[in-house]
Symmetry: D2
Subunit: 340 residues, 4 copies
């Protein structure tokens, strides 16, 4: 691509869409936010006004029809991801799509096939891969600093459950929350998971159980490299957003801690204390959102492969479906039991 600035069309002006918009405008010099659409048109217009985006509307087809747009950033509702990917690919647009691609493998596979056929680039929004601490863990594993991996713990706890209305349509804890951890597990370990086993329940809020979801889970992972891992999920950690990982390898271990708004430690006659960690993903993962989109833009401008592929978007959905099946059937479930 000869251009030195990439023209992006944003589809979806909700919470995560606004994060990406701000990053495109302020933090990524090589990108330009050229258009924004949202099914709620005023949301698109508001965002367009805020960032002086020339075009705003409610129909993403307008963006796909605009020859000046090089790529789209899909931040719309999950069930629209797959059809928009299909359409964007057909229109020859490169695609950045929020996770998950979809909740059903058939629709995911259809979308990935469309991308393949159109030879456009597709990157999935697994932003945690771009977090400095997790990237450091990946580096340690990849470079052999801790030897061959043996055991992994992923701690991933939200500060509070999402609204019940969201939980009713989220696809369940394994597809809306654990999916990030499934991606982390594959990414950090550098290999695939072959089997999962899930225990869990409703310990935080019975209303979550009433809508058919869990709020607490432990998912055991068997990796194809022979290692084992466990994901620890809770919808509520009283002290805030808790996001950590630890891997034991043959030569040692690597472990990350939480990120804090300040480093002050206060010692009084009661205890030695520090303030709570960053409360939620917006604060904790701020920089990772910039880096993922910046890398996407670079991948297109310099025709490099994207750092999170369509396959990387598909596998965690398989893992989520397997984890749910394991929970329902109270037995270990192999990933190859899950088919489209």
């Amino acid at each position: 691509m000869a251009a030195t600035v990439l023209n992006l069309g944003l589809i979806g002006a909700g919470r995560i869409g606004r994060v990406h918009a701000a990053n495109i405008v302020h933090r990524i010099p090589a990108a330009r936010l050229a258009a924004v659409v949202d099914v709620v048109e005023p949301a698109a217009e508001l965002l367009a006004e805020q960032y002086q985006v020339p075009t705003a509307g409610s129909d993403y087809q307008a963006i796909l029809a605009d020859p000046a747009i090089d790529a789209v950033v899909i931040c719309s509702a999950t069930d629209t991801h797959a059809p928009i990917i299909v359409d964007a690919a057909a229109a020859g647009k490169h695609i950045f799509c929020e996770k998950p691609i979809d909740h059903t493998l058939a629709k995911i596979d259809q979308a990935l096939a469309a991308v393949e056929q159109a030879s456009v680039k597709l990157q999935i929004g697994f932003n945690r891969r771009f977090d400095a601490s997790y990237a450091r863990v990946r580096q340690a594993v990849a470079e052999g600093e801790i030897g061959a991996p043996h055991l992994m713990h992923i701690i991933s706890r939200d500060p509070a459950p999402p609204p019940l209305d969201y939980l009713k349509v989220s696809g369940g804890i394994f597809l809306d929350m654990t999916i990030h951890d499934f991606d982390m597990a594959r990414f950090l370990m550098g290999c695939e998971v072959t089997e999962v086993y899930t225990v869990g329940g409703v310990l935080v809020d019975p209303q979550i159980g009433a809508v058919g979801d869990l709020d607490t889970a432990l998912i055991t992972l068997t990796f194809e490299n022979g290692a084992y891992g466990v994901i620890d999920n809770s919808r509520r950690a009283a002290y805030g957003y808790d996001q950590r990982v630890e891997i034991l390898g043959s030569l040692g271990s690597i472990a990350t801690g939480n990120n804090y708004p300040n480093s002050a430690v206060i010692s009084t006659a009661s205890a030695i204390c520090r303030d709570l960690p960053y409360n939620f993903f917006m604060e904790r993962y701020t920089e990772s959102y910039v880096r993922e989109l910046s890398d996407f833009v670079d991948a297109i401008l310099h025709d490099r492969s994207v750092p999170v592929s369509g396959e990387d978007g598909r596998v965690p959905v398989v893992m989520g479906l397997a984890a749910a099946k394991s929970y329902r059937e109270h037995r270990p479930v192999r990933l190859d039991e899950i088919t489209a």
Copy 2:
């Protein structure tokens, strides 16, 4: 009991026997080491000489026959624990016995029945309950500092595998190593485990597999209070003995770290570093060995209940057998499937 000093007979002068002997002599004013026996008589004599113990021999029956002896400390080979308990109970001696009581439930139940019938006190050597950090966790859970427990992680990694000769007779990782963690799980959570699920393998040393054991395992626990937990075991952590626990509750979490020989942090142009943690259980759990035996002595002198009962010695064996069965059968196993 009218006496103000308890006369103890030590049965077994091996590694852990010598630890208890030193503690009785030097750290527990209310106890006196009155006799020591070992099947290898010179080992008993050496220890007797070192601590000016009046009586040494090779036959524990001599200790049981001595009316001046109030209680025995059993540190002999595991397969002798149960019969010695039976004999000691019949002789009216109070009993401190190293873990595990035995590898088979039938023999354990026989021993516990003998204790019950003789109305003597029996304490099992789960010393970690007396470690200051784990005791603090128990306190936090018991007093509700973290609310209702939801999720638990127990990290328990040895610095290096034991000798292969030991592994051939140890009863396997779940009965020789995880048994401490099973006890911790019950103790810290304050309730029973109802089901376990085990994954694991041979990642550290193929010779361990050759003798039919594992060296790496993750055991998922389902507690009767609705919480879930996971035990992480490795026969080798390159950086030393790694013993930590973390519990998430409805009001917060509590987590312990390792113990270090010094607190110095060295910062150079390469990294910010500290020295390795204490290398093994002798250094890490030094104080807990004193406290467990001191509490045993107090329980007898003041006719109080012992802090680790015979049932506390039995249940972790059930858990170990269930964990092994789960591994073999590749499925979750309920503890009530394990019967004598």
Copy 3:
């Protein structure tokens, strides 16, 4: 001021000038970078092109003459600060000026008088006040969390000495480096210093001594509230930029640590290590530069007092001169010995 966006003219397009330019353009929606000048005109032009600044040149008078400019950001060489302040005040422009205002009190007082007479706002660039950790310390002291302050340590060490050419004109370690710490001392303690005592020498690099400066110093502070403090300065900490503070008060203490690029801890058979802290002020204090300028912009737009006054710029220079005098005369020096 009726305007909702403040038009800023940047004077000086060097390192710190470029930091402020980027922040104005990308991070402070309420400000607009309307003009930039530098004595090296191509530097101004380059920056103007990068950020689409409409006006670039070499003469700051052009900025002062432009009625569309509301305020100036002075990032030129230190010896030009005072005359530019005088001229800017005369032109009715509000002023943000990098520290130090000047090395001589007479010129500082002249500048402050001009500001006073013109009734414009003047803020000095002591960015560390806006660092989240130091702000937390200030809050703890101000709100009495640690009671009445008794003792303070400020650790302030650079990763490496600046170029010798800079050291020849910097005004010496107390005016170019410690000046930030003098500001911190007053700010965190919430009161003035009455006396200083300095020891120090040339331990890092004899070339620094050859140009008449020190590279290592301890400065004892006596505060008017009865507390005492010490500033620890080194031109080179092998492990990177080391910026910490600790205050002991009657009810406890507060202490800050360094900031790190990631939270990963790697444990191997050698040691338990983490990566080095952020290497220098650009990375460590990134956010504080945004906040100081954002607060300046808000102060003008909403006619509030600026958070770092001209007096706040003057006193640390007095402290620097007193510290240098103490070092030369090898005795404690009261601040009131330093007069214009």
Copy 4:
């Protein structure tokens, strides 16, 4: 010395005397507590009964006259140290003496001369040298891990002031409290201090001022190797005993933290907290008391030099007198200004 067990006579059965007695009896197999005296004879008798010491009395001359006693441990009131040392040396006994030797140099020099003439060994009770963390710092400096030392901080804060009756006779903060830190400064740095400068006051309790003492001080140190240091003393840290050190060297830094009774970290909706550090020297420095006396015993049994010499006991007194003089005269004071 042919004997394999050293017979010790304890002079003084107060708090520290009882610590040493317990360590001799329980922790140092090569030593035997053969006699104890105290001016309050019942105190000696109580201790003798507790540890089955054969001889108890009120007159230390009885110990000196007993040919079976190899060495004395002097734990009596400070003003008796020097005359007892003189007498013990004349009696040919090796001597372990608590710090400080005395408050006046003339008496110290007299005592050291007597020791020299009698060719007996004298060790001073600076136990902190035997603390694992401080020993690690000394090792790092001695082995060049942090290069040439440049700057040192010693934080040494008590949890609460001693009784006023003690303060009236203690010799003042510099001789009763800072003296340990003066020893640490020389020991850790591996060279002498040439000059001190003191600031301080009465911030903790006006009653301390009323008896002519300070409760808060900062003492700047100039070392003969060119390094500088500062000692931070407070009679009261609300959070407990605070004992830390940090040294910056040309290749990096080393810093120690406090010791804690447990490692548990509790996270709730309020803060991330841990329990307070060990409250006072008995708990914090437990092991160091064992090691210092064990090393003393070994030094005599194997005719090696003692690890803390009489000169090591003298110099910190010089430093204390210089620090007091600096405070009184409000100026830096060279140590060579202090003469007997």
